[in-house]
């Protein structure tokens, strides 16, 4: 598998150097792998810090900026960051109003961020944590590490970020984040495995005529293989998996929909897939308030897609529409 890299060991630091050069509005500490807003800490504002393994770009560093994250700490590819990184991001962005860590529910992320939180509090930073666990493909939470955090992370970061930008105190920002995390559900499908720089090839074998349902975002295989389906059929399986998790009846409020590419699927196909997703949502009686289509929570070069629905009351829709100014998500400002 050919990659546009120098050496596998330097992929993340090379990317951070390149990001710094493209985004003067960010402060990038390449050595320590921390990205923060240039205007951080913002006086009186609660800071939002997230991070995780690299390979999901633009998440998280691409979501740093006004109205979303204050800091991000990218780990090595598909490897959660070490506690030091998260502590640095927290210290660099805390205005005294406290820090909310947004953590995707993976064993590594949880353990490292928990250590970070302890260390940050030792340094006098008031730190809260919200867990994103939106992946409905993980049904059996008792006998697994629990639901994975995937596309829902974007909604938690955007909506809690908007609340923080408006000056909400830590408890309120945390409450919004928790509400959003609870309101999100995701389901992903792979048409191909991704290749990590370290392995130099696909992380799993997916035969030509098959797809993988219920995948995560770390190149890990999913739970079920099926013969290849059309875009419309994939939309049906996906939406139905999401709605089943809502208890069979559609969400009461309209949803914010993220039709997300895993990285290797052309935008042309993603837009076409969105048409099918919206068709199925309409047929199932789900109202859609806002739709975002693109590669936001990716898995390197994996071909495939995921759908995240976030049930949103008027207040959440308002927070979605609020200005955001980051490398990857930008509107209203």
């Amino acid at each position: 598998m050919k990659m546009l890299i120098n050496v596998p060991e330097r992929v993340v630091t090379d990317a951070l150097r390149g990001m710094a050069l493209a985004h003067p509005e960010l402060v990038v500490d390449v050595e320590n792998q921390v990205v923060v807003r240039r205007d951080a800490p913002v006086a009186g504002k609660v800071s939002l810090v997230s991070g995780g393994g690299s390979g999901h770009e633009p998440m998280h560093a691409g979501f740093v900026g006004r109205g979303m994250l204050d800091g991000a700490c990218p780990g090595e590819v598909f490897t959660s960051p070490v506690p030091d990184q998260a502590v640095r991001a927290a210290s660099a962005t805390d205005s005294g109003a406290g820090v909310l860590f947004i953590v995707k529910n993976y064993t590594g992320d949880v353990l490292n961020f928990d250590m970070a939180r302890e260390l940050a509090e030792d340094e006098g930073v008031q730190a809260a944590r919200v867990l994103v666990e939106d992946d409905v493909a993980v049904t059996d939470s008792l006998y697994t590490a629990g639901r994975r955090g995937t596309g829902g992370t974007l909604f938690v970061e955007k909506l809690a970020g908007a609340a923080a930008e408006e000056g909400a105190p830590l408890e309120r920002v945390e409450a919004v984040a928790r509400q959003v995390a609870g309101a999100c559900r995701s389901y992903g499908v792979a048409l191909s495995a991704c290749s990590t720089p370290a392995k130099g090839g696909p992380t799993f074998d997916l035969p030509p005529g098959e797809l993988e349902l219920g995948i995560g975002i770390h190149g890990e295989p999913g739970r079920e293989r099926r013969p290849m389906m059309t875009s419309g059929e994939i939309a049906e399986v996906t939406v139905d998996a999401l709605l089943e998790d809502w208890g069979g009846s559609p969400p009461t409020h309209p949803v914010l929909a993220l039709v997300n590419g895993m990285g290797g699927t052309p935008l042309l196909e993603l837009y076409g897939f969105n048409a099918e997703v919206q068709r199925v949502l309409a047929a199932r009686g789900v109202a859609v308030a806002r739709t975002l289509v693109g590669n936001y929570v990716t898995s390197l070069d994996m071909a495939g897609c995921s759908v995240t629905l976030c049930e949103a009351d008027d207040e959440l829709v308002r927070l979605w529409d609020a200005p955001v100014n980051t490398a990857a998500l930008r509107w209203g400002c």
Binding site: P8, F78, A198, R223
Partner: protein
């Protein structure tokens, strides 16, 4: 039985680093089957840093050696294995205190505490198809001999093959995790083998 001094622990960790370096691709390959294909890379990054740290600030006691190694793993590895192996070594080192030499029995006792800390941190139990399935049997056998510990770790690692994973990334696969050796159990075996090898060289 010979007491184990600081030099022994430094040699053990160095031998472990060499084994990890040698087997990194295999570990990644195992992780590729039921995880995210980075366990070998993670362990190599961590143990390379451990070797460097030991050379830079030579530890004054067995406990200090393990403490330094554990802190280094926590701050260099990330992922699930970083905090878990880091906790294992830090907690074990703390149990050993600052004694200049320790016996195999002392080490077995301290490692027992370290492994319990791993179980507490990660919420896993024996049979969940994790590093614990190699570590727990090894620690139980260590009072008998280094060779028995290595043997137990080896059997423990092999025993993960038919298990269904209940913790860590592999758990997402459900039944499809069956039939593959757990990468963390494989790396734990490397650490215990390095221990036996170090002891065999005349210190055990």
């Amino acid at each position: 039985m010979a007491e184990l001094d600081t030099g022994f622990f430094v040699r053990w960790l160095t031998a472990a680093a060499a084994a990890v370096e040698r087997e990194a691709d295999t570990l990644t390959e195992l992780d590729s089957a039921i995880g995210d294909a980075d366990h070998g890379v993670n362990m190599r990054r961590g143990f390379t840093a451990v070797t460097a740290a030991l050379a830079e600030k030579p530890p004054a006691s067995p406990g200090a050696a393990l403490g330094l190694a554990g802190r280094t793993l926590v701050s260099k590895v990330g992922g699930a294995s970083g905090p878990l192996y880091g906790t294992l070594l830090r907690r074990t080192g703390r149990e050993l205190g600052d004694a200049a030499t320790v016996s195999r029995e002392d080490l077995a006792r301290a490692l027992g505490v370290g492994v319990e800390a791993v179980a507490a941190l990660g919420g896993a139990a024996e049979g969940d198809k994790t590093m614990l399935d190699a570590l727990l049997p090894a620690v139980r056998a260590l009072p008998r001999s280094f060779a028995a510990a290595r043997q137990a770790a080896s059997e423990g690692a092999v025993a993960t093959v038919p298990m269904r994973a209940r913790r860590g990334r592999a758990s997402y696969l459900g039944d499809r995790s069956i039939g593959h050796e757990d990468p963390g159990a494989a790396s734990s075996l490397l650490l215990v083998s390095a221990l036996e090898q170090t002891a065999g060289r005349g210190d055990g």
